[in-house]
Subunit: 897 residues, 2 copies
């Protein structure tokens, strides 16, 4: 039944374009209020006019402001020209252009300072003949320029801004992006274009994670071995850092450095081994490394200074008891606080597992001497020392949430990566903090996951003051699996949605509208040279060894890189030097076609049967794709790992198409194979997950939800013996395979239906369902099965079967539900060694005769039949239904002769 | 008749994919010998095995070499991993990896030096179990690494190198790319990726054009106003220059600086006005600027230091008579020769138009005093001074070919931009030189134009020694119309073909094979982050305001930017700050689909009628595209200028499709409109040219080459009166519109044919043909018409009509041709005032009866009929036929009842 339906493979070529077609749906559709904004401003009143953009566009700056406004205005003009193709007469902005009659007037009260809590508010009045942007600071004006560019539109007649009245200011003062330049180094051009993109979505903090186990990435004149020995030549010079800071300052963005200590310090310790808490030996304590792997790693090195290549948590930790270390760190802090003008200085502090401290007798002795009760407090001792150095330079210390222990001075600021709970806890204890948990963009979650994380949601118990101490959030771009080539598609466009969460009102939450605006924003970000849209194609051309990558684009349209840390199990599959030019690197976190398809299926299942043809077009499209894929495969060894994925997609699409044929539903062999195939296709291939499996499976389940009841003239005895049934095809209830408690549920129930003029007869055998009538523990006790019938008038009738400790009872009426009009004839037996404590039994077997009149129905095919299985979590809880493990198809009953 | 054939617009979607289909023809086809090489090595012997690439690939370096070989080997490993997706056990190359059993052994005799004439030869032996690369220098080894990467291949089984034995060395020692960073600045990342790409195709000189009218782009500590006042902040710091030089050195590439003097020096003079030959006033002598334009320009400036914004040749010129200037220039030369280690130093010297010198009395006096006869020699005086400074630093001076005047010392080196003649002249005079004429990649010519330029071709008269003095060539990337975003698609892939011309044997000339290999090379260059493939799509998405740019890709598939300097007439349409995000900027010099179509049409016209369906598929595809285009157009004002182009393409495709219907050929109204339309469609739209017009027109001409002769029973009188002809549709001979003497020819001739059993009757009226029997001048005298018949046996019969000074004579037999067997009945008259001197007459009118037997044919439809019009160039030349102004269709005669 897995045969290919070949008539479609011939039409592959005209189907390739469907992707264009589908993805361009609602191409220019715009919600009245949010249009193309990202982030959405606080208050927008649209007028119904347009400000036409032509070559006479002029811009004039008024008031007091920093020079950065000239640059920002200049860039604004340039971007506007580049969008419109209009050659402006005024291509420059300088003092000579001050003109009250200019088409675009910017008025600023004072020069802004790039620091936390600087005023970023602005108002924007777009009239049909003139635009007025007012702001307290030039930084606010820069935010307003981005908003104006987001009101840009065009039609046949020309380019224009929609007339509007906008008042805007940020919800949170700290809207950051953390860039990990240690694991993989990301050079100047990468950093600069991130700053451009950040400014475009009104972000205001670039947090540079400059030092970690895998590299120290900044020139230190005080401790030169840091960059000389622990960067392999890939580091920022101090001139470059100054250039980054100036570039960021021009865009109203702070730059905060982080030097992760005392853990995550392998690179520092590589340069200055005397700082370590244990003699430095590369990989000596690498977790989970086999002896062979270690041997190989050593053989490869054979030189003294080689950086850590793997991802993970490593042992090398700075010795907090060695006073000399504080001298070195003080030199570094003095140097770096001078280089970075920002008020905040981040010391990391995360994931110190204390291994080297525990193993070091001298450290243990020090703790005893100094009454330091545990390693947490020892790290606090270390942090406190650093805090003093940082404060001595007039700065504030920030750290990851591990630094929050008893005794941490209130001046320290907490960046929460572990969860909002720790953030709220910090706030309640009087600390200031910001949220990164939920904004880990390296984990390749859908943008929906990030967008729905609100730093304050769930913290309603906090006082207004405490709420204010939560400054905002930061998207964190950890770069273990990200190179300078792929980083753009990992940061963008998802980070724009996080930027909106941190700027816009908490009431801006519509996911569909966010996606619509994110698409526009994503394209617009290409203005800055970002490669998030282009680089995946570059990778695919390389893999395909061809310029014709249509068949691969079909796959990246539906496959997403494995989420969380799953792509790189234990941090051992990849090293920092592995090729990141694989199929998974061309996939993005929100596979675009998968989302379109999921929405289509949702609409279809909610009754939008008009979507059927569109759904089938997609399925035909995917079904035909594997043949095109295989043409590329013949000339590419890199595609070997992708071949199963491609084959799965086409096969699944075929099966799903087949399931639209209702006659398939009673072909049990077909059904079982198909079911198994959906299950298998959920697994990773080429370190990616096919995101259309679930919606396809939903379609499949929906399509096979037909119940056939056969007419019988010989009334079955209700005795739990099915010998008097003449059953050719059993039907099947299956679990939806929700992942529960560490495993997918595999419960299922075979059943058959018969009918005569008086009754509907049900034969039911609950398979593979571990039940024991006399066990003392486990999930078997107190289990229920419900059979639910829903008739044309939408009355529900529930038939409940319960297994208790000693016996199987039948209950014809579920007290909590509509009652049956008559006693229903039924019998239930347990197949197996009932009441033998040591074993699991095999199954229930059930036989029921339900009078039509009790169903308020007669010979009806308008009955839906469901089955629900309830389980208890433990034997101790007697009546609590902990979870629903399976819902049978909400199927349509068909009475056949 | 311009009606849209709507049945096709419905099929647009499945046609969109044709572009994929067509462009992927011969996707993996490879010529046995040249495979994917670019440049092709001197000697290649293929073995029939394969060296399989797996994780156990190892590389070991032997002999004496510079550290650059570690870097190059490391990059080789990285690129190989990134192509194959294989994770090598050996990811690094250092001393620890020396191993005679390594899979890949590199043996080098000595460290190379990055200088002219360094040894770049290598030999490469790829066996199935081991690879051996031998070279005298590490630079040769680096060239060999690129060759090895070009033997990379893959199939289902895996990735491999083809086994081979290769001996290679360059034909020319100087293979350069000149990068103009003055007009538009191109920052570090742009320069670095050009260096990577250059190395990939074995180029060895980066020529940095650092100073021109529009900007001085390098930090000068000696004359800091140069970069401070004349760069708008866009310049290379000296640290950056050192970084570029080191990066280039690592890749075996020299970096030569150019400071253009004494002309093209507006930027220098802006910074140091005291250097000028006339008081500096911006734009004061801007050629061709209207008073309004000047006024606007001044109004915009209003500040002292603003860079020249336009392209062209400007007046500001350094005063060669001012000794102080030499002090300043000497400071600059001392500083820059110290910074750039290369032996060569380029002083520009081009396009000095001497205006300011001629207008400056003091300069004129100086010339008189010093016996300097003309401005050429004055510039030579200037050059000689610079030469001494350069030589004092131990360097050699290079200049554009204007510097070559009497008295130029032989040490100076000539870079020829004006033509090979000046290069050969220089060689004959004993100078060394290199060629850039023919390699002006900024002019957007087809790669074919560059590839077919051989520096030595045509210089056969040169002695071997003189030939050796021609060092090679340089592709020149002038950047008036090129930004950092678009430059990659202007340089690549065409420059790879120039690199091959300069490296490979002169016998490597096959254009089709070059194109095949160029496609592969182009994709491979994406490894270095080059945007030549991706950036056009970025531009199109911006223009379309959509991610769905399929309709625009159809257009960029067939449209090319205007060639030569035509895109920017007089240098005034664009400024350096204009938006270069227009449709033309997304088009490339070799529109890919246009080339495919041209080849198809050529094959078809050469008798490959099997191509008809493929041709029609393209035409249907284009015909349907305009509708898709217009959907984008509704939301884009930038597309306004593209709309006529899109409409033209669709209309032309329709007309060309229609022309396949032979009955159309006798519809004169249709024919005229169509002809006019092809003519109009040749014109630029959106500063691009539709490159499929000509092949479509060829098809049209071919398809309409059907002659219909009607059967008649009433024999016409041969009296030049057509009243006894019953003609409904006249046919038409038309000129092929070759561009002759400043205008397209519009000559045409109406004609009709009739036949009976005895004769073929011809009625011919030569229209619109300016003839005067008694003019003393002009092109009318001595004109000829030839009617040529070619029969089945391929005999040719020519009927000649001649107009002489006084009368029209007929000649039945063209003496130089096959003779007619009988006297043919005919009559010719001139319509108009014959013999009135003052006017032009209207036309010839001709009537002929040609007996079938004289055509050696009877009732034959195998006759082809041509008409040729000859014209004399002038009245004075009596018998010389200067040019063929038109050839009628070589049409097939159809006898109809």
């Amino acid at each position: 039944m897995m045969r290919r339906t070949n008539k479609w493979s011939k039409m592959k070529h005209n189907l390739v374009v469907l992707s264009f077609f589908f993805s361009s749906l609602n191409l220019y559709a715009q919600e009245e209020q949010t249009r193309n904004f990202m982030p959405v401003p606080q208050e927008v009143t649209w007028e119904n006019g347009r400000f036409d953009i032509d070559q006479n566009f002029t811009l004039s700056l008024h008031g007091n402001f920093d020079d950065r406004l000239y640059g920002a205005s200049q860039r604004f003009l340039r971007r506007l020209q580049e969008r419109t193709g209009v050659f402006f007469e005024q291509a420059y902005v300088n003092e000579s252009h001050v003109n009250q009659q200019a088409k675009f007037i910017i008025e600023v009260e004072r020069a802004g300072v790039v620091k936390l809590n600087e005023d970023e508010s602005y108002s924007l009045q777009v009239n049909s003949d003139q635009i007025l942007l007012k702001a307290k600071t030039d930084i606010g004006a820069i935010r307003g320029l981005e908003t104006l560019l987001q009101t840009f539109d065009a039609d046949r007649k020309g380019a224009f801004f929609m007339t509007a009245n906008i008042q805007d200011s940020p919800r949170f003062p700290w809207r950051g992006l953390m860039l990990d330049v240690s694991r993989h180094f990301h050079p100047m051009d990468v950093v600069k274009r991130q700053l451009d993109a950040m400014a475009a979505v009104k972000m205001n903090v670039l947090h540079m994670h400059l030092a970690d186990d895998q590299g120290f990435r900044i020139e230190s004149k005080a401790l030169p071995k840091l960059h000389e020995l622990a960067s392999e030549g890939e580091y920022f010079t101090q001139d470059e850092i100054r250039e980054i800071i100036a570039y960021a300052d021009d865009r109203g963005i702070r730059v905060m450095p982080e030097f992760d200590m005392p853990g995550h310090a392998t690179a520092m310790i590589l340069a200055y081994p005397e700082m370590a808490s244990a003699p430095f030996q590369y990989m000596d304590k690498k977790p989970d490394l086999s002896p062979e792997e270690k041997k190989k790693a050593y053989a490869e090195m054979n030189v003294e200074h080689i950086l850590e290549r793997h991802a993970g948590v490593f042992d090398p930790t700075i010795d907090p008891t060695n006073e000399k270390n504080y001298e070195l760190i003080n030199l570094l802090i003095d140097e770096m606080t001078a280089l970075f003008p920002d008020e905040y200085f981040h010391i990391g502090g995360d994931e110190n597992e204390y291994k080297q401290w525990a193993d070091n007798d001298q450290i243990q002795a020090f703790m005893k001497e100094n009454d330091i009760p545990d390693h947490h407090m020892l790290q606090n001792y270390f942090n406190t020392k650093l805090l003093a150095m940082i404060q001595a330079q007039g700065k504030k210390m920030m750290g990851w949430d591990e630094i929050l222990v008893e005794g941490l001075p209130k001046d320290a600021i907490i960046q929460s990566w572990r969860g909002k709970e720790s953030l709220f806890e910090a706030a309640e204890k009087g600390y200031t903090g910001l949220l990164s948990n939920g904004y880990y963009i390296d984990l390749m979650h859908s943008v929906d996951d990030h967008y729905t994380v609100d730093p304050l949601e769930g913290g309603e118990q906090l006082s207004e003051e405490e709420q204010k101490s939560i400054l905002g959030g930061e998207a964190t771009m950890w770069s273990e699996l990200v190179t300078k080539n792929t980083i753009d598609s990992r940061i963008w466009p998802r980070t724009a949605a996080i930027a909106e969460r941190l700027w816009s009102s908490s009431s801006v939450t519509d996911l569909d509208d966010m996606h619509r605006r994110l698409d526009v924003t994503s394209r617009t970000l290409e203005e800055f040279g970002l490669k998030h849209i282009t680089q995946p194609n570059v990778i695919l051309r390389n893999i395909a060894r061809s310029g014709d990558i249509a068949a691969l684009k079909v796959l990246t349209g539906v496959a997403e890189p494995m989420e969380h840390y799953n792509r790189n199990p234990l941090g051992l599959m990849y090293t920092m030097q592995s090729p990141y030019t694989l199929f998974a690197d061309a996939c993005i976190a929100d596979a675009p076609d998968a989302r379109v398809f999921r929405k289509l299926v949702e609409a279809y299942l909610a009754g939008g049967t008009s979507k059927e043809n569109e759904i089938k077009d997609w399925l035909h499209f995917w079904s035909a794709n594997h043949e095109a894929f295989m043409k590329l495969r013949e000339h590419s060894s890199t595609l070997a790992e992708v071949e199963p994925l491609s084959e799965n997609l086409s096969k699944l699409a075929e099966i799903t198409l087949e399931s639209f044929d209702h006659s398939k539903a009673i072909d049990q062999e077909w059904y079982h194979e198909a079911e198994q195939f959906y299950y298998e296709a959920r697994k990773q291939q080429a370190r990616t997950i096919l995101q259309v499996v679930k919606p396809m499976e939903k379609l499949f389940k929906n399509n096979t939800k037909v119940l056939y009841a056969k007419h019988t003239t010989s009334i079955p005895k209700i005795d739990c013996s099915f010998s008097d049934w003449n059953i050719e095809d059993w039907s099947l209830f299956t679990s939806e395979r929700e992942y529960v408690g560490g495993a997918y549920r595999t419960d299922s129930a075979h059943y058959a239906l018969q009918w005569d003029e008086n009754n509907l007869y049900v034969a039911l055998r609950m398979n593979n369902f571990k039940i024991s009538a006399d066990k003392k523990y486990g999930d078997a006790l107190g289990n229920f099965i419900e059979l639910i019938f829903e008739t044309e008038d939408q009355s529900r009738y529930t038939y409940l079967l319960q297994a208790n400790n000693k016996s199987i009872a039948t209950k014809e009426v579920n007290e909590t539900s509509t009652s049956w009009k008559n006693k229903i004839k039924s019998k239930v037996i347990v197949m197996g060694t009932l009441n033998v404590q040591e074993d699991w039994d095999e199954a229930y077997q059930v036989e029921i005769a339900i009078p039509w009149k009790d169903l308020n129905s007669k010979f009806s095919d308008a009955i839906k039949m469901n089955m629900v299985i309830h389980e208890k979590a433990s034997a101790d809880e007697d009546l609590k239904f902990d979870y629903l493990i399976g819902t049978s198809p909400n199927a349509h009953l068909i009475l056949v002769e």
